[in-house]
Amino acid sequence: MTSKKSKTKTGQKKNKNELAEKLNLSQETLIEMFRQMCQIRRFERMADQLYAAGKVHGTMHLSAGQEAVAVGAGLAMRPDDYLLNHHRGHGHFVAKGADINRMMAEFLGKDTGYCRGRGGSMHIADVEANNLGANGIVGGGISLAVGVGIALKMQKRDQIVLGIFGDGAANEGIFHESMNMVALWDLPVVYLCENNQYGMSMPVSRATSKQPIAGRAEAYGMLGYFVDGNDVLQVYETMKKAVDHARAGKGPVLVEAATYRYFGHSKSDRNLYRTKKEIDGWREKDPIGRFEGYLIEAGILTEKEADEIDQSQQELIDAAVKFAEEAPEPKIESLTEFVYA
């Protein structure tokens, strides 16, 4: 479904690479960003196929269409910064540098997966890498991020924590309690609200009394940004500002990125609440297509090179699937391990 990428012109005139240069992004970095986006897209497509093929037990929430948010945000963070992810988090994991072999192994519930097969898509984490996990509870990571922020402040470290959640999560009470706390205490926390227009089947306009969600930051006296989540450079630019602000001890930031998911909400989704017209409209703004168009226009990649990069990701994905399928299952006797430390 997501193969034909539309190549919208970014419509830049003079210097075709202006924005990227302003952001001090080398051509290598730009190409790496593109590569990551392609990898995520292909990762999600594969996850969908594995599910369809009955190889994945349980549900998963795919982020195809939202790659620019993941890659733009990931690049703005330092590798040792903390991440509290949400259920639609595959892209963010890849962007944080996760090993897709171990990710894939986790989806297949294998013992070599990140969570030794206990967590699956909704709970995948890499604690050693300061990646504190996806969350099955909408808004579940928001208050955990407050605590990480408190710890970082008390430990006088210069990392920040990124807390990611969706438009729907912003209506949970924990959002309010947490925003008030991070603002009150100037914690080094950046919240990224990935507004993909729906919470499951609920349009954001029917769930949220006033938009943009970033506007709520105002109520807490906190910095808020709204950004086009399908433009990876804009996401990076804004997230970099936010991350620097938080790292400098100037206080927390709430960033809202407008984007769209292509797949259904989860396996149970019959997609009755969205029109083909709406979906196609967003495909016109496809983040990968747009960025590819930008890179080609800027003379950084030829269409052929771009396609090669994209194709080459499939090999990595296929290798990850192979790794995962050959990986061992957890031992049944290990059922009761890991309950207590």
Partner: protein
């Protein structure tokens, strides 16, 4: 009688009560077009419109609190927690407000509401979407806890629950939704607090509810071939619990096993066992009173581990045999 699934039975009960009583309305997340995560309310939005099928933001605490407030002023909300695990976000409203309002106000408030919540594992949804938390709910005076095991019971008990003047936690099971059984088209109610003997037998009493009823019945079938006659008592309502029926059965069989999916420690099997052991029925029991329940772990994602975490047919069969053969 027509055959229907557990899911259809629930939808039929909801629809029937919405037609019968305009005070009844549905309240929850994605219960409209989507029909709820499992489809229980599918089609009702088209039939009853947005005011009767009231979709909410993702705000479980306010869902429970608002349902409570609406119930206090004459409505009959049927709220839905998409997964039972999410009632944990509404515990304050359920336990401190809905359950206690009547008592705190000296009997002057009534809170006729139902909260539907699918529990249980088996779908690969892992630790935060697979819990069986009914044992927490039965500890709260003021609420009733219903836990149906068949399509027939699901419809009759849901009708009674919606008509009951108290706050009710109606606990469904994801794996039961597709199970089939005979369900009359018309309306009928099953009283809350009355157990049902799902199978008669002389050798042992097994108290099981919800998903564990079909599993226990299947095990009982096989054991019957060995001449072991199992009596399966389905409480149907966990609070109030029909202790008399359970005691009567135990006095007949002299043996008791309680089976539930919920984690063993602190699970409701303890309530059943204590209710029997504190009564004169105690003297009718030959050997140890056993529990077969979920392992003391969060539900793991891996399919094999997930299966191993909760009692399956074979486990139940094995345990019953061990008891009857006096291995404890």
């Amino acid at each position: 009688m027509p055959e229907k699934t557990y899911l259809e039975a629930i939808r039929e009960a909801l629809r029937g009560e919405m037609l019968r009583d305009e005070r009844v309305f549905l309240f929850g997340e994605d219960i409209g077009r989507y029909g709820g995560a499992f489809g229980a309310t599918y089609g009702l939005l088209d039939e009853f419109g947005e005011e009767r099928v009231w979709e909410t933001p993702i705000s479980e605490a306010a869902i429970v609190g608002a349902a409570t407030g609406a119930a206090m002023v004459g409505m009959r909300p049927v709220a839905e927690m998409m997964f039972m695990d999410f009632i944990l976000l509404g515990m304050e409203q359920l336990v401190n407000q809905a359950a206690k309002a009547r008592y705190m106000f000296g009997g002057k408030a009534t809170v006729p509401m139902v909260i539907r919540m699918p529990g249980g594992s088996g779908t690969g949804a892992a630790a935060q979407h697979s819990q069986s938390l009914e044992s927490l709910l039965i500890h709260i005076p003021g609420i009733k806890v219903v836990n149906p095991s068949t399509p027939y019971d699901a419809k009759g008990l849901l009708l009674s629950s919606i008509r009951d003047p108290n706050p009710i936690c109606f606990v469904e099971h994801k794996l039961l939704y597709k199970t089939k059984g005979e369900v009359p088209d018309g309306e009928y109610t099953i009283p809350l607090g009355v157990a049902d003997i799902k199978r008669e037998g002389r050798d042992i009493t097994v108290v099981a509810a919800n998903i564990m009823v079909p599993r226990t019945l299947a095990a009982a079938e096989r054991l019957a071939e060995e001449g072991i006659e199992v009596e399966v008592v389905d409480p149907r309502t966990l609070r109030p619990l029909d202790v008399d029926t359970i005691r009567d059965s135990v006095r007949k069989t002299g043996r008791l096993l309680v089976v539930h999916e919920a984690v063993k420690t602190g699970g409701w099997a303890g309530e059943v066992i204590a209710s029997v052991a504190e009564s004169p029925t105690f003297d009718f029991i030959d050997g140890p009173i056993r529990r077969l329940a979920g392992a003391d772990v969060p539900i793991p994602y891996n399919r094999e581990l997930e299966l191993a975490a909760v009692p399956q047919e074979e486990d139940i069969e094995r345990e019953i045999r061990a008891i009857v053969e006096n291995q404890y």
